[in-house]
Point group: C2
Chain length 356, copies 2
């Protein structure tokens, strides 16, 4: 069958990667996966139009016979696989459950797809799978489907996980960042930037004392309670993952046509995170969280919202961090200690790759 | 914050990979992702017990208010990304739609998660996304959620895609391989082994003439029609992907406690596939398909089933390939040209990695 006279090479449509020397504007860069401007641009200019898909909330709504179902998906490529406070398995489940929870849905089931590098030890795989099971149990979701691919050494870095979550929107679910309006208040469920710092310290073996610990955790119950108690006065919730609190507020500003104003002296940051950020020149506003969410609420329910959040250990340190104001030149601004307003930059990417 | 006196390294729980020299029995091997015995073993002994999940059919059933929803997930790591007859984008959508279709569900929506290597060209990404959109449109599913991760050069080989499909089981859906019984007949929807050979020829630049072309295609309509027309006389359907027809029949034998008997002279194989397989010493029974399925039907509806399948171009070359018999020593046997029965081996893996 092989035709030796026909020497034309089988030509793949395109060379797959840009050589390092060529124009970066024509290539995927690390920043395209980092939750910042370039990623939103990629979604808006390429992925959404090509797929004719709307990209707004963390979960997709599917009209069903009775009640609407929510679907969300995420790939996890965190390095290292284990870090203080979690691992790629617990991270994947919490991430997916939280995406459904902040969107106003009750998580029901998740799927789990593994891409494994040849040579990964069973011990490590077992540890990750156990963690998936424990976390799914804690969050009240079943793992209902899965897939396993193994690729040759070097084709993937150890282990990547993709989880998809399916849930049901709560009756009369209305949470949408388009509803945010001037006068609303902004709350945070706890100290920011812990996850990114924990992963970075583990990856770079920074030996910090005390060591930063990821905030990886289950937002299901606090989000559902907040939603049930506040009704329409709860405008929107979002877990502040890749790109940190800054990325959430940039998106909310764009969606609602308002400006988000933060108070610098109210932003909760642990001593560990503050120390590491100062050392490395990072701003915790841009650093990823995995069990911390931002909520926008009507001013009338502000105290009740904080009260509800503080009932749960995951959000016991909830506090107000800012307010929504009429649109000014910057989408997000911060009021410094002395009262001046500074714009919060919208970075092209985030400072840390592979934190989730 | 950094404590220089504390020199204890941050110790990750486990080294992530077995060195090449150590005992292979303690490591993930390529064969664990190849649809054969080792993969079933991995699923049965580790993944299913750890997750307390049942692993039987291609899609998961979720009880809903009204009607049952089906969920399925798959990661695609095919190399090369483009091959005659398809690419990683069309492959991902067909694969997911087909998994729902053979399980007796009508596909509704899919999610799309991309893991991209830094440096991938936009041109290539656009081509893949367009292919996803075209294929989703052809199959009548919407892409409802997605995720994009970019990892540094070398952490992944160009582009991996994970798709999750959500569908609705048809009323009174009963398709289950446990229902297969002695006397049932086995049908195939078309020539086998084309996808694996097409990918291999493209990867290794084998310059075959004529070149093998993947059977990548949409099984939605033919599966739904078959199901509606045959009712309970259609016992089970399965797309013969990783591990080929052999893997499907091994699983069906185990699930139903019967033996699957094939007729060698009835197996449909194209000239291209036969030639390549002979050249490479491969058996097309083990080679992957991506738009070809096996059906088990009651003998009374055998002719009607073939008639229905032949109405659709994707299955116009459908034919009978064997029958289900009482359990004998081998789960799958083949009747050679001269009438003798030979057992079909259940290989540890499949001959070709990264074909889907």
């Amino acid at each position: 069958m092989a035709d030796d006279d026909r020497r034309t090479e089988f030509v793949l449509p395109y060379s797959s990667a840009c050589p390092a020397a060529v124009d970066q504007s024509n290539c995927i860069q690390l920043a395209h996966g980092e939750g910042g401007r370039l990623m939103r641009q990629l979604l808006k200019e390429r992925i959404a139009p090509t797929l004719q898909a709307a990209i707004n909330e963390d979960a997709a709504r599917i009209s069903a016979m009775k009640g609407d179902w929510a679907v969300t998906t995420d790939s996890f490529v965190v390095s290292p696989l284990f870090f203080p406070g979690g691992n790629i398995g617990s991270l994947a489940v919490y991430g997916t459950v939280n995406d459904l929870s902040v969107a106003g849905a009750d998580p029901i089931a998740i799927t789990l797809s593994l891409i494994i590098e040849e040579g990964l030890s069973f011990q490590l795989l077992d540890e990750v799978l156990s963690s998936v099971a424990r976390t799914a149990n804690e969050c009240g979701v079943r793992v209902v489907a899965g897939d396993t691919k193994v690729v040759p050494r070097g084709a993937v870095d150890k282990l990547f996980i993709t989880t998809t979550g399916v849930g049901q929107y709560r009756p009369a679910s209305h949470l949408q960042c388009q509803q945010i309006q001037s006068g609303d208040l902004l709350l945070i469920s706890g100290p920011i930037g812990q996850h990114g710092m924990a992963v970075l310290a583990a990856r770079e073996k920074l030996h910090m004392t005390p060591e930063p610990i990821s905030d990886c955790g289950n937002l299901r119950i606090v989000c559902a309670t907040l939603h049930n108690q506040l009704g329409e006065d709860l405008r929107a919730m979002r877990d502040a993952t890749r790109g940190g609190v800054s990325a959430v507020l940039q998106e909310w500003s764009e969606a609602s046509g308002t400006t988000m104003q933060l108070y610098e002296n109210q932003l909760p940051v642990t001593a560990e995170t503050r120390g590491m950020c100062e050392l490395l020149g990072l701003d915790p506003l841009y650093v990823a969280n995995e069990g911390t969410f931002v909520a926008a609420v009507a001013p009338s329910v502000f105290e009740k919202a904080l009260e509800v959040m503080r009932e749960f250990s995951i959000s016991s340190r909830a506090c107000a961090i800012g307010k929504v104001i009429d649109k000014i030149s910057s989408p997000v601004v911060i009021e410094r200690m002395l009262g001046t307003l500074h714009p919060i930059d919208d970075p092209a990417g985030a400072p840390l790759p592979r934190i989730c």
